[in-house]
Structure formats: structure tokens, C-alpha cells
Symmetry: C2
Subunit: 221 residues, 2 copies
């Protein structure tokens, strides 16, 4: 293996390990030695990549922003349901991602565990909010939205709900199975769509998400 590929793999393992430790023990209690040991990396190799915990937190946030971008970019092409279906699919992907992926949870400040939201780089929560707002405006441009709700408030409602799903999906006991969120997200859309979408648009929308959504966000990294 080329040296560069090995360095990248080490860096990725450290980011994963840091996110898991921040998620489980909190930023303050997570120690650099636990993070390097959990990643299977020597302390010397870790210090080559990250000078301190702050730079690890920064990298976790940047990685979360990348994974989020992969979720939001997954369906660039045209969907029968247009922008609203894109949003439905992305909320399913994000809810599943938050349940499975400590990087996303910590980066979005969406877990209940003592993370360190403030120190994370890349502002993934701001990106998610901006993307939801933009997709809703696109849906309105497609004539798919009713006029019954102001776009800003709908955006805030959807962001609150998706972040809240993160607090539900990360159980206090790490050994407990993560609750299934697919049904919750589907119910949310079943409830919202009749009011949010025009009758014409609603007929084409699939509240449970369209098939062919990608695997877990961290898988292809």
C-alpha cells in the first residue's frame, strides 16, 4: 500500500474513533490516548495527524459536513416527485445516518451525549438548514407547495425534527439497539404532506422514501 493511502486510512480511523469517544464520553472526558488506542494507532502516529483534541473535533465536523453533502447530493437527477421527494429521501437517509454514525451525530450536535458541537468544523448543522430551505424553495418553484405555511417556519420545523431524531436514535445505553426511525420519518411525511404539497404533487410522492437510496453515509469513504 502506498504511504499516502496508509496515512489517509489512519486519519480516517482517528476521526471515527474520536467521534465515537466524543459521542460516548463527551469531548471533555474523551482522552487522546483512548482515541488513539480505539483507532489502533500509536500516539506518535496520531500526533503526526492531529495536534490536539480541538483539531480532532474540527476534523469530525468537516467529515460530518462531507457525509451530509453525500446525503444531499445523492439524488441530483430528476425524481418523479421533484424537490420534495429529494427532501423526503434525504430525511430518511439522515435519520438512518444519525442512528448509525457517530461522526454525523457529533458533527450535527444531534446526539444527547456530551459531544462538543461548538468546536466542530464545517458547520454541518448550518449546511443542513440551508439545504432544507433551498430544496423547499425549489419545490415551491416547481409549484409543488401549497401556500399554507411560511418557508422559514417549515424549514425550522423540519430541521428541529431531524435533529431531534438524532437524540432519539442514540440511546443512553450504547449496548441497547438503536430504535428504528424509518417509521417515524414516514409518519412525519404522511402527516405533513397533505398540507405541505399541492394535490397534484402529493400523488407522486412516496412518504417512505424512494428505493435505491445509498448505503450508510460512512460506507464509501
Amino acid at each position: 500500500m502506498a504511504q499516502q493511502a496508509r496515512a489517509q486510512r489512519t486519519r480516517k480511523a482517528l476521526i471515527e474513533s474520536a467521534a465515537e469517544m466524543f459521542d460516548r464520553h463527551g469531548f471533555a472526558l474523551a482522552s487522546l490516548s483512548t482515541i488513539s488506542a480505539h483507532a489502533g494507532v500509536s500516539k506518535g502516529a496520531m500526533h503526526f495527524h492531529f495536534a490536539n483534541k480541538e483539531s480532532l473535533a474540527e476534523a469530525v465536523g468537516a467529515a460530518a459536513a462531507q457525509r451530509l453533502a453525500r446525503i444531499t447530493d445523492r439524488r441530483r437527477g430528476h425524481l418523479p416527485g421533484g424537490a420534495l421527494q429529494l427532501l423526503i429521501d434525504a430525511t430518511h437517509d439522515l435519520a438512518r445516518g444519525l442512528g448509525e454514525d457517530a461522526v454525523l451525530r457529533v458533527g450535527l450536535g444531534a446526539g444527547h451525549a456530551p459531544g462538543h458541537y461548538g468546536a466542530c468544523g464545517g458547520d454541518p448543522r448550518g449546511l443542513w438548514t440551508a439545504w432544507v430551505g433551498e430544496v423547499l424553495r425549489r419545490a415551491a418553484g416547481e409549484g409543488a407547495m401549497t401556500r399554507s405555511a411560511p418557508a422559514d417556519a417549515v424549514t425550522a420545523t423540519l430541521v428541529a425534527t431531524t435533529l431531534g431524531l438524532g437524540t432519539l436514535t442514540s440511546p443512553p445505553d450504547p449496548a441497547a439497539p438503536a430504535p428504528r426511525t424509518d417509521a417515524t420519518v414516514t409518519t412525519l411525511w404522511n402527516l405533513l404532506l397533505p398540507r405541505l404539497a399541492t394535490t397534484g404533487a402529493a400523488g407522486e410522492l412516496v412518504p417512505s422514501g424512494t428505493p435505491g437510496r445509498g448505503g450508510p453515509p460512512g460506507a464509501s469513504e
Copy 2:
């Protein structure tokens, strides 16, 4: 002032201070000396009430459970909109409480800040989930609910959204003003009710909440 009243006041000040420090710095970084200093209480007096940080976290959780109970008990009498209006009013009160009150935020594990959800007593999040489920069942018993959504999934959706509002209302920068959540909660109900409530019930419901809701949850303690 009687000695007992003074002791109670000291205890309450310590709980408030601990919640604020857990919310701002996280359980691990919050120090007992900062908590006692912020409460204006000597270290000796603090140790009379609380042996360690864990017992403070336990007390914060118990206080959050009490404040939550005050929110859910506020309207025991009959409302024109029945159980669903009770739920609408309580979500408004809770969203406002989460924005203003570190005890509620930390106790419910609903802030983004590094709290210490696991160590909090009284299980306020479990109480909220149980209460939302019970009120939805009462609303169904009143004939106010459509059959379009399973009660469990609706409960999970509402709990996720209300906890998510907590992550939105506690800004990373403590100096920044908390965003107004009233419009977000009203929008949520405007979107949900046409699908959730029967036509007969919907006519009596006020998505923005009924007047005469109490003050902030901590005020009368």
C-alpha cells in the same frame, strides 16, 4: 427567614447553577467550585447539600421532571379543544421552557451543549414521551383523532420535534439571542392538524396555543 427556607433557597440556587454550567461547559468540564461560586454559595454550604457532581446532576434531572410536570399539569380542566389542545399548549410551553431554562434543557438532554443526560435523575424524557402518548390516546378516546397515523409513530414524531427544538433554541454562543420558537411550533401544528385531527375537532383547535398559559416553568419555584 427561617433556616429551612434559607436551605431550600441555597439548594435551588445550586441546582440552577449546576444546570447552567453543565449546559455551557458540559458535565465533565463544569467544576464544583465554579458551580458554587456562580450560585453565590460557599463550598462548605454546597457540600452540605450535594456530595459530588453526580448528585447535582441527579437533582437537576429531578427538578426538570418537576418543571415538566408543571407544564403538563397546567391545564387539568376542560379545554374546548380537549386533549389535543392540551398537547398543543404543552408543546408551546415546553419549547419556550427549553429556550429559557437550562434545567429543562439539561434534564431532557435536549440542548446541543455537552450535558450529562445519562446521570440526570427523574427521567424527564421518559415522562414527556409517556405523557404525549397518553394525551394522544385521550384525544383518540374523545373522537378527535383521524385513523391516518399510528399513535406510537405520532408520539415519536412529536417527541423528536420538541427535543429538536431544544437543540435549536440553545445557541452555541450564549450571548446570542435565543431564536423564537413560537412560530415554529405553530407551523408544526398548522401542518399536522389537518391530517391528525378530525374535521369536527380541528375547528376548535388553536395551533398557536390558547391564552393564559403560565409563565416560564422555573418562575414559581
